[in-house]
């Protein structure tokens, strides 16, 4: 490519060479992004309106999430490791050790530690604003569907009950929520939005009235 431009340089003006270089660069960029942009297009289309103040709120939420991950990863490192071909007994042993370690390390955890009032307010407002009435209806149908009557305790640092199903997180709604590290997942229980630890299923935090 450099050789081509060098050759062109002998016959064309510097402006023409620069313009050609920009055009080629644009073509390359378009071609590469053209291969990879479906998800970005979807994400952009689903991107909620975020004010500068909201950005700060999300940033602080992210910092609290990272702080949590640091603590839980420290506890996880001490629990038995699970291989990709573990037995059910090994899975249970690792879960039990991790859950008890994590609960002990977060004994003083309170509702709102992660879902502080500012991020909770942002999430509520975003979910109310970002969906059409039809979408809201469809999302509510998914979120409020329950297949068992097993009660989930609204208590931080308590395990999500083992036999209880997980309500599907509607994909378009997930794209509206602030992203989480892989160690955490959003989960709905009725109108309540929870943060669950992926590997331990402990309820890390929850916020009420979080339905679109």
């Amino acid at each position: 490519m450099i050789a081509i431009f060098a050759g062109m340089n002998q016959r064309l003006s510097p402006f023409a060479v620069a313009a050609t270089a920009v055009a080629v660069a644009c073509l390359i960029t378009t071609s590469v992004s053209g291969q990879q942009k479906v998800v970005d297009q979807i994400a952009r289309a689903e991107q909620p309106v975020v004010s500068p103040a909201d950005q700060q709120t999300i940033k602080r939420f992210d910092q609290r999430l990272k702080q949590y991950v640091k603590v839980r990863d420290r506890v996880k490192a001490k629990a038995p490791k699970l291989a990709k071909d573990s037995t059910p007994e090994q899975i249970q042993a690792a879960e039990t050790a991790f859950v008890s370690g994590l609960r002990a390390s977060r004994a003083g955890a309170r509702p709102g530690d992660l879902f502080s009032s500012d991020i909770a307010q942002y999430i509520r407002a975003t979910l109310k604003r970002e969906f059409t009435p039809t979408e809201k209806k469809e999302i509510k149908q998914v979120i409020l569907e329950k297949e068992t009557d097993i009660a989930v305790p609204l208590k931080v640092n308590y395990p999500y009950p083992d036999p209880k199903e997980f309500v599907e997180m509607p994909a378009t709604l997930l794209l509206k929520l602030p992203p989480l590290p892989k160690q955490l997942k959003y989960r709905y229980v009725g109108h309540t939005l929870m943060l669950l630890d992926t590997d331990s299923n402990l309820i890390i935090d929850y916020m009420l009235n979080a339905i679109p």
Partner: protein
């Protein structure tokens, strides 16, 4: 003593005359069925009505969904699967999720999965699981689910790539991984399987429109050929949507009888009267499939042509 001897003799006579044995080609002949015994050299294999071609070098697999109940019916269906595996030696099974309903103690893993499919496991059949709404994420570490510790993953067999997705939590990270993998995939067949159906005629759940909104553009752009799902406790073959074939096979352990909406514009074929599983065979640019009920009845079969789409 004499009565016992007589009874024993009657049983023996029945067994050797084939009356007491299970022979689906005699009792439940499929319209287009071919006796597998005619094609396979081992005479000990039971004869079942098979519509698949059993070509050498083909990719052979089974599909089950919503299995983990430990019910008598789940076991009965597994027994029929075993008979088909002997006639049509499928190498692996795709699981559409809800692999374990309710609690997930070590005993549950055994009762709801391992004991039920032990004979298939003994025959070296591998199970590849996806996660449903009743599955704990730590199932991804279970030795017999072959998920390699991942909630979503890809593997290849012959000229086909299989994508197990976690439809219960389709976040941006998973979508990006999926697109990255599809973008570099040169396999002839791209087959995705996961729990929630993007298209469904089910009365209880129906089409998962939120999921469809984010995954369908990827299926279409990157030439995904077939999408398999569960969640609905019945079988349904959907009319091709935007050039993609969709199936629901979610009656492996539970049945929602009569749940398919009559005259649904989506349905090509459905079966909601009993539990069922699918078997499939990929031969070059054709995918042959057969759907079998708990009583051994073939309830659907056909051949899909590869759409040959390119990204």
């Amino acid at each position: 003593m004499r009565r016992n001897t007589e009874s024993l003799l009657i049983v023996l006579v029945l067994l050797f005359s084939g009356v007491a044995s299970t022979n689906y080609s005699q009792t439940k002949p499929a319209a287009s069925g071919v006796a597998a015994g005619a094609r396979v050299s081992q005479p000990a294999r039971p004869t079942v009505p098979l519509t698949l071609p059993l070509k050498e070098g083909s990719v052979r697999f089974a599909i089950i969904g919503d299995t983990g109940t430990a019910s008598k019916q789940q076991q009965q269906l597994a027994d029929v699967m075993l008979q088909y595996q002997q006639a049509f030696p499928f190498e692996f099974v795709l699981m559409m999720g809800d692999n374990l309903y309710g609690s997930e103690t070590p005993g549950d893993y055994r009762k709801k999965f391992q004991d039920v499919y032990q004979k298939l496991l003994d025959n070296k059949v591998k199970f590849y699981a996806s996660l449903g709404n009743h599955d704990q994420p730590n199932e991804r570490f279970y030795e017999y689910f072959n998920m390699n510790g991942k909630e979503y993953y890809r593997f290849t067999k012959g000229n086909a790539a299989f994508y197990a997705l976690n439809s219960n939590y389709m976040d941006k990270a998973q979508l990006k991984w999926f697109e990255d993998e599809l973008a570099k995939d040169t396999s002839d067949w791209k087959i995705c399987f996961f729990h929630h159906p993007p298209y469904s005629s089910g009365g209880k759940h129906g089409s998962d429109k939120q999921l469809r909104e984010v995954v369908e553009p990827l299926f279409v752009k990157y030439g995904v050929n077939v999408v398999l799902a569960g969640h609905e406790h019945f079988y349904e073959r959907i009319k091709p949507q935007k050039g993609v074939y969709y199936f629901i096979s979610g009656a492996g352990g539970k049945l929602r009888e009569g749940d398919v909406k009559e005259s649904s514009p989506l349905t090509e074929k459905s079966f909601d009267r009993d539990m069922s599983f699918m078997i499939a065979e990929i031969v070059k640019d054709e995918l042959h499939f057969q759907v079998i009920s708990r009583t051994g009845e073939t309830v659907d079969s056909g051949v899909l042509k590869n759409q040959k789409k390119k990204a």
